[in-house]
Symmetry: D2
Subunit: 353 residues, 4 copies
């Protein structure tokens, strides 16, 4: 099988770099085009990108010339790590021009016909692509989003519990610095410190989570009917977002029923067979002091959400901690998984993995 060439928008930024790193040995996709800001355009990627991940950029990408955002490019499949403002109109233009855009940007996440996709949790939402194509007159194009990085461990840990009737969700996060991109958080702001504020994230946690846990009803998503409250904190850790959650569930399940639901949880076929899908989307850790950010963020190559410390909450019924790698499961990795689902569902015209 010949690999499908893909383009990465916002390729020189922190999430763009993670896309390129994760795609290095991807069995289906191959980075052939990198798109950056006007400042980077024209340089080769290896020089334009201040590589902030470990080691350096893959040799095959280092030599690519960075194209400007308004360039025409060839790749059918486009991964977007654009900043919000740039994403807002450009992603729609690209989809209209026939590209399939899998975006990590927040700009279009709440647009009614844009699926906010997390394959293990809401693979059916992918059918919004049919809606957007019909309504907007797109043929090969599509726009599919993944959620905010802190929302991921929330949705992944609650997806298996929907059957118990989730009604209230209280979330308090501790978020890694990589969630703010590069240069992002100044070291003087975060060394030996916790900041009880992350711009914009509380609202995203309170809304994106409900849309993602909702169901496709006709041509739009019926949000989960639950009340949410989020408090976000920045912490001095490199990668990994931890969320302390208290949850009210109508069915009042026993604790071991909840654990069983997590352990039995698998993405539906064909999601569980996709190259980037972890063997277990959710793992329950029985130790009293897990999940821990540094020790559990890389579970399942960074694609597994770890939960632990399940116990009664005197106020809301249940509490536990959930953790996911914010730039893999919470950003680039999930976006790639979304693209894989699109591929096997036939949404990438002419490409049949």
């Amino acid at each position: 099988m010949e690999k499908l060439g893909v383009a990465v928008l916002g390729a020189t930024g922190a999430v763009g770099q993670r896309f390129i790193q994760l795609l290095e040995n991807h069995p289906w996709f191959e980075v052939r085009e990198v798109i950056g800001s006007s400042r980077s355009a024209g340089q080769v990627y290896g020089e334009a990108a201040n590589w902030v991940l470990d080691g350096g950029p893959p040799a095959a990408v280092s030599g690519l010339e960075v194209k400007p955002l308004d360039a025409d490019f060839e790749s059918l499949l486009v991964f977007s790590a654009l900043p919000k403002e740039a994403a807002e109109t450009r992603e729609m233009e690209l989809a209209a021009a026939g590209h399939v855009v899998c975006t990590n940007a927040s700009a279009n996440r709440m647009v009614a016909d844009v699926p906010l996709l997390l394959p293990e949790a809401n693979a059916d939402h992918v059918r919004l692509v049919d809606v957007q194509r019909r309504k907007r007159g797109w043929t090969t194009g599509a726009l599919v989003a993944n959620s905010n990085c802190t929302v991921m461990p929330v949705v992944m840990s609650l997806a298996p519990l929907r059957k118990f009737g989730v009604r209230k969700i209280l979330m308090v996060s501790a978020q890694a610095i990589s969630g703010a991109g590069y240069p992002g958080v100044a070291s003087l702001d975060i060394l030996d410190n916790i900041i009880p504020y992350v711009s914009g994230d509380e609202n995203k946690m309170e809304t994106e989570s409900l849309r993602m846990l909702g169901t496709l009803a006709g041509e739009e998503i019926a949000w989960l009917d639950a009340v949410t409250s989020a408090s976000c904190n920045r912490a001095p850790v490199v990668d990994g977002h931890l969320v302390n959650m208290s949850v009210d569930m109508e069915a009042r399940p026993e604790l071991d029923e909840i654990v069983a639901a997590w352990e039995a949880f698998r993405g539906p076929a064909p999601v569980n067979q996709l190259p980037s899908a972890p063997e277990r989307p959710v793992q329950y850790l029985p130790q009293i002091d897990r999940p821990q950010i540094r020790r559990d963020r890389n579970a399942g190559n960074g694609m597994t959400t770890s939960v632990g410390r399940l116990r009664p909450c005197p106020l809301l019924g249940y509490k536990f901690a959930a953790l996911a790698h914010n730039t893999i499961r919470g950003a680039a990795g999930s976006s790639i998984l979304n693209a894989e689902l699109l591929a096997v569902q036939g949404y990438l015209a002419g490409f049949h993995p």
Copy 2:
């Protein structure tokens, strides 16, 4: 005025060191006796103590000989930084023998006639000393406790809000490593990490807070009638405990009424005149990203609790963040303030500052 000589129990440990540091230039008290483990006993303090705070121990204390825990000693006033097990019986023995013991240990905090004192919040609880003296036949002796370090910012931030009818309290902490003493948390466990578990602290937060916010009713404390839920996390910061709180209040006050209550809050006379009392027990920080652990822990010489980020909570009505220095306001500093209150109330026989 001649200073009152005091003894410090558990003087070589991390909290014992903080007692000695804070008492260095105290206007009323002077450390004259240091009591340590059998391992330290007989050495001079400067050699026995592995000083973990900044700089080194005060010269005046460095030369004192460390006495064993079972030694007789002279000081009427005793500060205890003993581990729980050692504290359990020894503190009672010392009070029975006529010493006034101000303890940071958890062992006797919930004993019915032991005040869990936080002068600005519950100065009236000090009258339990009369109860304990009468019931136990003590004359000059007394045992007074301060709370767990993470409970402090909770009680300090809620004390001004009791008038609004606090009914539900949800707390999620981020706690400094110094809360675990020395050697305490291994660096391999906490660098670039968050641990969603602190042994014993969730229970203390859920119970001590209610006892402290209660009122003296006859010979015992009527706890605040509220439901509590706590989740505790260890974070890679040196000092300072931050708590994200969601609170339900019957009176449904406006946000600015809450801010006004915090800003107007002062310890009652004579508490507000005590040497260790900060000018403001609680300060409200209006900036969107405060309080921050490193930048606000030393407010009021580590005795002021900082609150911020007050906003509606869709689930419980109100949410905010509260912060206090865990080894000053949360431990040694509060214990010294307790002793100062005892002094001005006449509970230190023969000492009239």
Copy 3:
């Protein structure tokens, strides 16, 4: 005595903030004018400055209006925390206009008639002010610099050893993030990391140290005749620069002679009586694992240099570690001490403390 009003240039930056913090309760000087970039000009300081130190700016300064860099201002004495480029010409202009400028900027440090002053080590260099006034036709104006922050512990630890004939100096630093200002080092670059490079600092260490340890010979400084080599590293600590040094000394002193030289070292009169002068400019710590950055950076209110680990170096004769607080002794604090020396030497026209 009425205090002398002073101006702070670059007042909103990290070093500017430290000037303002250290001057808050200064017995002689009082901040009356704050000068910032065109972006800040016109706002009140409390709003213009993103305060990165603990707590917040002093109330008295918060309400001052920030003036633009090209404004006329009244203060005779000016502290400069300008970036290098802005400093280069503006500082000379101000001195020519009659202001006494004490600068932390590197721009003019190596100008032949600008003293690179460290009062305890080279108070005689202050007489270059006479040279600059005569040569440049200045009457009340002057320009006096302090060194790079990493050079400070080197010069302070070697000043007492000059009598032994220092001939070779090898320095390897570990430098705090605050040395890079704000926003300065991105947290993604330094958490769980060491960077073996600090732009520009190796050259400064190799040259400024020799000029500062030199002697005033006629109208210029005869540099210390020694060979220097520096390697600079950025480390994840908030404040404090540590330097591992190996030193060759002609006289081959015994180790205890070196310790004695450090312990006996005091600034010459009147330096040792200045308000910001620490009791001991250099302290020798006998413990095997000191000086440590966090525990010793605040010695002498951040103005004392700590040395330790003195032992033979098989290659250069002697090795030891030296540590100073980089934004106090290494920047604002030393600049203020320089101004105090100028004051008592009569260089501040009309001001006699």
Copy 4:
């Protein structure tokens, strides 16, 4: 090929865990016996070990019963992560009893007939095994050591430069906390701190490096004839030791000759074909700010040493920075590579990979 069962001594400690992690999918070796302290003996490994690395122990090892140190065990090949005292006699006993012991302990590193092996640098030293067998009357047994973790980047970076006549070596380290094992460094000692002391390491750096860079001369090692000086620092990083080095070389090579020597450096056959040998033992990083601990420690699966910042040293001729992963290349990984070399050289009786 059937895998060779191996035993790990000190299996529950931090280095023991790294042995088990690295051996999880080893093509030749398989952990079949785990030996721990008397406290752990009798428990299954998964319960006895407080796993401090990421995730958890491999399932296949979790179920093994921990044997006491004095147990008889079957494995011909034994990896030792014992503490020094336990290692001193037990390793010799085991070798005498016919086991091939590859040890990370320091106890026997400087014994004349024990090779201090680093295959890419001194593969010929392996022939000391013949010497020890003949002298000590061992038949199948052997004892082979790897060096201190901080010595590794020194030896690896200098091995390619021996041809230039290395005569003086000055080393200043920044060492990760994992080098001290578990619990090791208390977090209160190292957060926001640098400690300029690591017990025992300076002497090891100054001696082990010379023995390793020496040549086999008859029945013993002729040490490299050079003068060494080391200063060791503990830094708040999880893994990875960085060394700032200044080096004097007789041949006065050009800088690009040095870079060429590093880039051309490969382990001799058959070392470069061993399963744990990295493609490049040494990589030169041309960026001005590399190698960095967090970004380069995992190069070559943690087995590649990264060097950078090569520039003239005014004192010793050359300076540069070298970095290696301290528990992989600096400990368990190198020990496994040593065992692989023993295997292909026929020193593991009956095992022919």
